[in-house]
């Protein structure tokens, strides 16, 4: 079970690399925001896999905090982008 968790951690790390390519290349700010949201969601999954791989359920608290902060960050960025869009009128 621990070996499987380590292998799957490698797969999720590759996924983070793919999402980071979109974060760097994204043509607009909303695309980068989507990539950032996906990065934090994958981070929640990585925290869960890490707690299984090292047999430490304490790391699930990291997943809780990451989910909370990711939602707040995404909503705040979206509000700022909307205000910026209406600023030019």
């Amino acid at each position: 079970m621990t070996t499987l968790a380590f292998v799957l951690l490698g797969v999720l790390s590759l996924g983070i690399v793919l999402a980071f390519v979109r974060l760097l290349r994204g043509p607009n700010i909303p695309d980068r925001l989507v990539a950032l949201d996906l990065l934090t969601t994958v981070g929640v999954g990585i925290a869960a896999l890490y707690s299984i791989a090292f047999d430490e359920p304490v790391y699930l608290d990291v997943a809780i905090v990451l989910a909370l902060v990711a939602f707040l960050g995404t909503v705040t960025f979206s509000r700022y982008i909307e205000k910026w869009a209406h600023h030019g009128d």
Partner: protein, 115 residues
Amino acid sequence: MVTDIICAAFMIIGTAFMFLGCVGILRMPDLLTRMQTATKPPTLGVFCLMVSAALYFPEIGVTIRVLAITLFVFLTAPVAAHMIGRAGYQVGVKFWKGTVMDELKDKYRGTSIDS
């Protein structure tokens, strides 16, 4: 033994969904398609990974934390995606060329950043 097999199966399924979401955000042509592939499959992946963690640690505290994470992600992921989509529409991102319908065409107007 059976619990181990179910736990491993949930782990593999959840990781596969998350990885497919990451591939989709790189391959999709548009903001809205990218948004939908970056929101729904990783949410299901989080659910599967949390079920796997709840099966791996047979303690009531872990189960309660796992339920809290799953409920929170299921509640907030659609709200976050909706806000990103609305902000993207008001900024005026270009749609994919195969987009069939735009029901908000005359409802909003904003400054375009595609120039």
